[in-house]
């Protein structure tokens, strides 16, 4: 099967080409067939590869020489090892289900073909990222998913909010990519190659502590952009302006996890840089906690899930930061299942309620949408870490490894787990329980989604339940599978401690759910009173700590002002003013300043002369 791994890339690419060129002519039905079967076939290949790579330390499969010029040589080849195979299988599998779901969700959209083209293009770019055997290819995929994300978030570009959100995502991602690009350039400068295997093999000999810290920090900057970590997380909540399946696919299950994958892929380098690892773990823990607090007061169902995604990504970075790469990948996998599920369920709610997404205008939906309610509950339980659901195992694995590393990180993680249980069950109770607060007309029209949408949800629900068992602490399928690549050091058998911690986190999760039940079902008046009592805190949270405003004031506006200033600088009045000021200062010319007119060509010539004098002076006096 490994020999045919390239088919994994080919199918989505064909899907893109067919739908891009003929999409508008062949009709919606054909478009969906093409798009879904492309990803489905790709998924089958990925499964084959997943089995084929078990136990292998990885094979590289060159497809063609991409760049070959002098010493600069880059192969376009696939790196097939357990890590990439697992990631590829998750990406294609979840994408496949979401493609199917989209058939129903986007059925009425006039740009149906374009939507599926973008979706396939996204999967293609993501697979390039995942299967890359060198940094350049990975970077291309990396930017590619960023681009698709821009296209899909801004898919309904007629809405200003959507267009703005797309732009924001793109720019913020570019800030992160900048770090990644610089890291790649540094690697190339030091190694002369960009191939992973070569770099990892020679890293211990070539890189000093400072160099490896610099490189890994730069790579991590890239990861914070793509994976929405502090301080670059701000794009993700806004990205919910895109169609809901897109949110499920890109901003929950696949693209945002690219950062985690990249760190895991570079674990050799990160292992050599303890400083960076500490930064990664701290940022991860801080993001996890910080995002969870914002989710507590959010009213928009999709945004709650978005903050939850940021928070869960924080967990994954916490994991890779403490060296538990396999645990991070395990959580990545389970999270892909239950987060995609939650988003699709939210989409189903929107579908039923004509796009209404404010949870305070919903309520009581459990009688109208029993299936949606059930799958949402499963997803919520998995996310909250209710024992025996998938999230429980993967989260616990991370907490356990964090505890071994540093109790402080563990405490933060535990606190986050508690908040997670509270906010997600708040969303569940407010949306599905109690009396409805929806408009009457909407309420009456509410209906379950068609089968094409609910079947993918059911499959994901099953996965969200059983997904955890592949990584049971004692069974450790994931860790064992990834072992050839990640060389996970087996944590000392701690016996009692481990079980105690397991119990603690289970209790924490259940406690959080109980609190949510008390606050939002038993005594619904309490939250409102609380928010009044702690008004400043509430405002701070609901305004998302004013981070967007901060960025606006500190980064965007000044840049714009400087630009405007530069453009206006050579406005006659300003030049004259500045030059006159200088002249007066120098006392060179004291008369007639007020009546002077400015000559623009001459002020340009003046600028040339300034340059001449400075450069000539530098050369002569050096």
């Amino acid at each position: 099967m490994l020999a045919y791994a390239w088919l994994m890339l080919l199918f989505p690419l064909l899907g893109v080409l067919i739908n891009a060129f003929f999409g508008r002519r062949i009709g919606k039905r054909a478009v969906s067939w093409v798009a879904c079967s492309a990803i489905g076939l790709s998924f089958l290949v990925a499964l084959g590869v997943l089995m084929g790579t078990a136990g292998s330390t990885g094979v590289e499969q060159p497809l063609f020489t991409w760049i070959s010029a002098g010493s600069f040589h880059v192969e376009f080849s696939l790196l097939l090892d357990p890590l990439s195979a697992l990631m590829a299988a998750v990406v294609t599998g979840v994408s496949f289900l979401i493609h199917i779901y989209s058939i129903g969700y986007m059925a009425e959209d006039p740009r149906y073909a374009r939507y599926f083209t973008y979706l396939n293009l996204f999967v293609f770019a993501m697979l390039i990222l995942v299967l890359a055997n060198n940094y350049l290819m990975m970077y291309v995929g990396w930017e590619g998913v960023g681009l698709c994300s821009y296209l899909l978030i801004g898919f309904w570009f007629e809405r200003k909010a959507a267009a703005d959100a797309g732009k924001k995502a793109f720019i913020v991602n570019r800030v992160g990519d900048m770090g990644f690009a610089l890291g790649i350039m540094l690697i190339f400068a030091m190694f002369g190659t960009l191939q992973f295997s070569e770099v990892f093999r020679r890293a211990p000999g070539i890189l000093g502590p400072a160099a490896v810290t610099a490189i890994t920090l730069l790579l991590f900057v890239g990861a914070t952009g793509k994976s929405a970590q502090i301080p670059l997380y701000i794009w993700l909540p806004d990205a919910m302006e895109g169609p809901t399946p897109v949110s499920a696919l890109i901003h929950a299950a696949t693209m945002v996890t690219a950062g985690v994958y990249m760190v895991a892929r570079n674990h050799v380098l990160f292992d050599m840089a303890p400083t960076t690892a500490a930064v990664v773990a701290s940022i991860g823990a801080a993001t996890a906690f910080f995002a969870a607090t914002m989710a507590l007061v959010e009213k928009d169902l999709k945004r709650i899930l978005a903050y939850s995604t940021i928070s869960q990504l924080g967990y994954m970075f916490l994991a890779v930061g403490v060296g538990a790469y396999a645990a991070g990948m395990f959580h990545l996998t389970t999270h892909a299942f239950f987060k995609a599920l939650l988003f699709l369920a939210a989409g189903s709610v929107m579908h039923a309620m004509a796009g209404e997404i404010n949870i305070q205008k919903l309520g009581g939906l459990r009688e109208k949408l029993p299936r949606t309610y059930a799958v949402f509950a499963v997803g919520a339980a998995a996310l909250a870490g209710v024992p025996l659901f998938s999230g429980f195992f993967s989260k616990d694995e991370i907490l356990w490894r964090a505890f071994l590393h540093s109790p402080v990180l563990w405490l933060v993680g535990l606190g986050t787990a508690f908040l997670t249980a509270v906010y997600i069950f708040r969303a569940l109770f407010v949306t599905f329980w109690g009396e409805t607060r929806a408009e009457k007309k909407l309420w009456e029209h509410a209906h379950e989604a068609p089968a094409v949408m609910s079947i993918p949800m059911l499959i994901l629900a099953v996965l969200a339940v059983i997904g955890g068992y592949i990584g049971l602490p004692r069974l450790s399928l994931v860790e064992g599978y990834l072992e050839p690549v990640l060389h996970a050091e087996h944590a000392a058998e701690a016996g009692a401690t481990e079980w105690v911690l397991l119990a603690v986190s289970a209790l924490i999760a259940l406690g959080g759910i109980a609190l949510a039940y008390y606050l939002y079902v038993v005594r619904p008046a309490v939250p409102a009173n609380l928010s009044k009592q702690f008004a400043p805190l509430y405002t701070l949270l609901s305004r998302k700590y004013y981070v967007d405003e901060f960025y606006m004031a500190v980064v965007v506006e000044p840049l714009r002002q400087v630009g405007r200033f530069i453009a206006e600088l050579f406005d006659p009045r300003v030049v004259d003013g500045a030059v006159n000021g200088l002249a007066r200062l120098a006392g060179v010319c004291g008369e007639g300043l007020g009546t002077l007119q400015n000559g623009r060509v001459r002020s340009y010539a003046l600028s040339i002369l300034v340059g001449v004098v400075i450069i000539l002076g530098y050369f002569l006096l050096r």
Binding site: F570, P572, N598, R600, V601, R602, A605, L606, L609
Partner: protein
């Protein structure tokens, strides 16, 4: 002071006078004359150096500069005339629609 230094300083002075003229005059024609002064100053440098170095390269260069100056004058006056047709002015400060 030996002759070559004298000549180099002289041409630098002429060049600077030309450059100053570009900055202080507003009449496009006069600015252009000042640029011609600058070119001539460089020509003097070339010929002085050519004599000093006992090579003809500098003189040939001057010959070429004369051709360049001729072509520049043709174009420059053409441009000034063409603007004058829209706006009867030779004041460069009056020609500033494009900015920002």
């Amino acid at each position: 002071m030996d002759a070559i230094r004298y000549l180099l300083i002289l041409s630098a002075v002429l060049f600077s006078i030309g450059a100053a003229g570009v900055l202080i005059r507003r009449n496009a024609l006069v600015i252009f004359m000042c640029i011609e002064i600058m070119l001539n100053a460089v020509n003097l440098t070339f010929i002085a150096l050519s004599r000093q170095l006992q090579s003809l390269d500098g003189q040939i260069f001057v010959f070429m500069v004369m051709a360049v100056a001729a072509a520049e004058v043709a174009i420059g006056l053409g441009i000034i005339v063409s603007i004058f047709r829209h706006k009867p002015t030779t004041d460069v400060d009056d020609v500033s629609l494009l900015k920002g």
